[in-house]
Symmetry: C2
């Protein structure tokens, strides 16, 4: 009877603790009851609404910067749908990528955050295909296009200039915009521009992730036509005599406008 009672007690406990624990009662006991449920990886994806993502990302930029803004606007709502332990992921960690990582101006935080979000749901070749698609779009599309209902830093009548980044690097993307807009890099207009970039990049990333989930994603590009031309000699195994290999998929001419002159 004591044994039976104890067994029932154990069963009741596992029902109550439910999915909060990994493994059997035996492994629970052996681990001293300290084993919480484990998320699967990569995470299962739930399709998201693109408009809502853009608005969420625009607001997120004000909370944790550009990388956080994109990453959390995608991974956050999916995690909410999945529940704990997914929703306990420390999304704030992604704020390190703001301003090209701690204002170093390296990789644009929106690209870093989008790549990290993609990596929560895809690994290997499919992950890289989605990143290729996103980064090439970022380099070759006049941005930003997002217009918030209530702009944060500029009057509602402000006509936001658009520019070609020509690069996935933060300080190049910003400088191209400041040249097009005739504004300084630390002006409120430029900060507003980056908030809208966050919305655009999160929205396009969700478009790609939704297509991948619905099996309608087909890779259309790996790199820009400009980089393709350079890499026809400089890529792995493609090198002509005396043409060194380069590990890059970025638009080469943005930083090397006079190559081969």
């Amino acid at each position: 009877m004591n044994q039976k009672m104890s067994r029932r007690t154990m069963l009741g406990m596992t029902t109550l603790a439910g999915a909060a624990m990994a493994g059997s009662v035996a492994s629970l006991v052996s681990a001293g009851g300290r084993e919480p449920e484990r998320a699967v990886f990569p995470w299962p994806y739930h399709t998201l609404d693109i408009s809502r993502t853009r608005e969420h990302a625009y607001q997120g930029y004000n909370k944790g910067g550009c990388m956080f803004g994109v990453f959390e606007a995608i991974a956050g709502p999916v995690a909410e749908k999945l529940g704990p332990p997914y929703s306990h992921f420390p999304f704030q960690m992604s704020s390190y990528g703001g301003g090209g990582v701690a204002l170093w101006g390296t990789l644009c935080g929106t690209c870093n955050g989008a790549a990290m979000a993609i990596a929560m749901f895809h690994q290997g070749e499919r992950r890289n295909q989605l990143i290729n698609e996103l980064f090439t779009w970022y380099e070759t599309t006049k941005l930003p296009t997002f217009i918030p209902a209530r702009p944060r830093r500029v009057p509602k009548t402000f006509k936001m200039p658009r520019s070609l980044a020509g690069s996935t690097l933060c300080h190049i993307s910003i400088t191209h915009w400041t040249q097009a807009a005739k504004k300084e890099a630390h002006s409120p207009e430029r900060v507003e521009r980056c908030g809208r970039m966050v919305a655009d990049v999160a929205g396009f990333t969700v478009e790609l992730l939704n297509r991948a989930a619905l099996k309608t994603f087909k890779p259309t590009t790996q790199i820009s036509p400009q980089a393709q031309a350079c890499l026809s000699c400089h890529a792995r195994g493609q090198q002509a005599p005396n043409e060194p290999e380069v590990v890059s998929r970025m638009q080469c001419q943005t930083c090397h406008p006079k190559a081969h002159e």
Copy 2:
């Protein structure tokens, strides 16, 4: 008696489930028993052994690339010491940063992984100070210095050339090494070089994190002297007339050798 029994059962359960759950028994029941323990953020740091970290990182490079190699060699062993749910963190997500993100040659994956590792333990100004210290060291130090006991891709007698990256960008760092070593970018020697960079960067990051934990970390640098000279006119609020602001902390002359000529 039944009530007493049931109360004892509940108490037994909470003891067994212990730290695996957040909140009280009441909240457990109301959540249907699905609430796993929540990690605090930023994570508490445990000091790590630098030599062991370097070897761990060198091995990790072969499992998930350069960003994973650095990130997991730091966050992984700390998470092991902290136990679940920390040790359930999906470390593999950091593999997206390999080759400057999916081979795009942007931010060096060792720098991206180190910055992300730092961000697991520090936020705000202290996080950025540690990243500044690390990135400046990366730009201005002849690397790699790590010599593995059993090299993976080169004979043990191979004398690994060292080079100055002069940048935190992947393809620039690699090209400077290939020029110094007279090797191709996709040669086994270059892959080996990046594996040793992973060891070096993880080791130095742990040195910084250990110092921060022991309260002996003092920021010595924000940026390289070269960037400092440029930013004396081009940084926020520092601009001379007609000198535009630039959002960057990278060594400017690496990509702009003829500025102001």
